[in-house]
Symmetry: D2
Subunit: 247 residues, 4 copies
């Protein structure tokens, strides 16, 4: 794969991040960011064993210095490559409890993983995405952001989480309006349902109906579609949910 381009996925774990990484690795070398190397080592191995190119880097996107260090490393490992696609898939842990039982750190944590994390990641990736615009990329350079039900709907006991997710949506929409006309596609995806990953095996969603949890491969398919959209026809926002999900 002698691509001049690479893709980066922040927030890689056993679910969406892994599936997106595998999907984009079919076309690009991929860089996987996660706080904990245990979240990406297996995926790096999986991609390499099927002939792809993958690098895992430990980074905390909520921390500017950590993000900067990660991108220094990328410059060394993938010199002269620019970004084809950057996916921000960091969810962070989140608090579900009554507002008056929440503390400042619940809010800080949500804003850190979500707003600060996307801010840092976008600052680090947009210059490279902009540079790619001039280099005949196979598809318009793309920044895709994973959102959630709480991106468009505040709920009792999810107040800090909603604050973070709304902030990400506002930031992403602003970036779409600023960088779209410069040729970079910024899209926000509302993932509205429980994702079918090892960690959610025990949950019952939609009364246990078949396909009642979202397949991460299906999410990856839609992310890939967003990436391949022609610049005359960009999607800024779409929702994804199981056919049986109430909304």
């Amino acid at each position: 794969m002698a691509s001049k381009f690479y893709a980066i996925i922040a927030g890689v774990g056993a679910g969406t991040g892994r599936s997106v990484a595998l999907r984009f690795a079919q076309s690009y070398p991929v860089v996987l960011l996660a706080r904990n190397p245990s979240n990406y080592t297996d995926i790096v191995t999986e991609i390499k064993s099927s002939g792809g190119h993958a690098i895992g880097i430990s980074a905390d996107t909520s921390d500017l210095a950590s993000v900067s260090a990660a991108f220094e490393k990328i410059k060394k490992e993938l010199p002269e490559k620019n970004l084809a696609a950057a996916i921000y898939n960091v969810g962070g842990t989140f608090t579900v409890k009554p507002f008056l039982e929440q503390s400042t750190s619940d809010l800080s944590s949500s804003l850190g993983s979500n707003a600060h994390g996307l801010f840092n990641f976008a600052q680090a990736t947009l210059p490279s995405l902009l540079a790619s615009v001039q280099q005949s990329p196979p598809h318009p350079p793309t920044l895709i952001i994973t959102g959630a039900t709480a991106s468009i709907r505040g709920s009792a006991r999810f107040s800090s989480f909603a604050a973070g997710k709304f902030a990400v949506r506002g930031l992403g929409q602003s970036l779409a309006r600023e960088f779209g006309p410069q040729g970079v596609h910024v899209a926000h995806v509302i993932v509205d349902g429980v994702i079918d990953i090892p960690r959610t095996r025990g949950y019952t969603a939609n009364d246990g109906k078949e396909d009642g949890k979202i397949s991460p491969e299906a999410i990856a398919d839609s992310y890939w579609h967003l990436h391949t959209q022609h610049r005359s026809s960009f999607t800024q926002e779409l929702d994804l949910r199981p056919y049986v999900e109430k909304f």
Copy 2:
């Protein structure tokens, strides 16, 4: 193509309808509906000449009897086939003028092409789409509805048009909530920009910038993506606009 399934596109002309028809004809026999045969004859020929199967039927979707007659004809021409995909792409002519210069017929025309037309088309296609759910279709049976900027934003001088487009969106959203859990994917697409078709050649959109008008092939790609989405991960609504479009 020995598919048990077919696709139908209502509102076929030189733009989106044609591109969607060509795209879906790669996988299914397609039926093209338009008021005027001149809108589909060339496309039928084009599809057949590239090895596909296409039927054109003259029908006015705003008229229940006309829609019923069309589906009687389909039953004869494609016996024992059920629907894989139904696309409602009827725009109708629309009025752009101050509200106090509009007449009842401007509103009736907008509601006819949009609300009544989708209503009639959905009544005619949903039983067949539901039947397909049980027949191992390659993808979940799908009803896709073309919307516009006016589907989510009322504007001065577009009041009748907005009434029709809002109505379609409300109807489509209701159908999504009713038929999604039964396995039929209902999606609404907000086409937010000028489409690059023969009729709009003379318009300048986005200061004449390259790709400042929406490519109908790009729309067809997104419609096809919607059709192929896994049922654990349906999109109910997405927007499509040129990278340089203000929104």
Copy 3:
């Protein structure tokens, strides 16, 4: 009350319409429109007996000729008066049933009462509201439209109703953008809950909790507030729901 202005309420019955009429009758002569005189006669009596001025006129807002006849009558009864406020509160009967059990007449009825009705009412009232702008009205001339949950949310089994309510919202938003800059305040109110009127006495809403149904007097208070807003600070849309209503 020697006001140069009057108010008109279309869709008067035992609920919101009556309360709004009583509220506006404290400041203006009021005209009450309803299909059936039995819907307004008691209210006319009630207003007169408390010193106000009220006229009831039988009219079907979905029928242009009926609306025109009503306004001819108003010109005779209230010569030289212009409109301070016009309230469109027509709900129409509505169908709650599965989409495939609905007929064209269910949709036509919803679009008639809602989209056509508002269209006809707005055509009849806006010239007078515009004329009032120049006549030092006590408050900016106002057109207020009653919406419902279905104005912003399509639901299974409410598809025709949602089509009509979405259409009204799109039309109202367009009118706001067209007539706002000319000094007429157009507002849309999403009434999200069961209204506490004689007809709903038998319903249990919100588990029968106190004030779990919307007080029509409370709605009238908010309509009056909308009417009195300064033109530097118009509300285009607000929602109203019981404190215990899920949303």
Copy 4:
């Protein structure tokens, strides 16, 4: 004024905060919070001179300790009084510049004034608002939050500001859903336009048309209306903009 209740306004300056304070001071003792005493001293004097009761307290709502200290002071100054109304009107300074010229501190500052500030203020006021529910308040205890255009629309060069304002909206909507059923009215107001205050005298808004800037007294009138809404008919969100504002 022997009210058992008081009102508090955070973010008092020469504009909305002052007008809201004057309006609520007609019915309640008011506490005014601002970082800088120069922002409230004149207003305290103005309220006292017209027979009202007002206390100014210096506090930085983005700082939990500062907020706690302020409420300790309030407990001493107004013992045994509970809150009738709490208004969060803190805007913070905001950055208007291209995203790649923004720094982390621009984002932190926006999230601090907006998300953290509202979080701290809501944590401090909701227990007292809840306590008031049981004490026969004249109107349902109310938390009103001032939003902006950027609360619902991200824009190029306003990315950090939009992140903060979206976060506030998500938090406010969550609080409305959590505390509404407990009797506390939480409302979010989208102030969409330039407010007519000393600081904006030099700006031209809406081509300099009369009333093209929002009157802060008009905002205060709508806040007071929100406060007085019956609990069967709460508004969660409304917009306010000049009649000539494009939206």
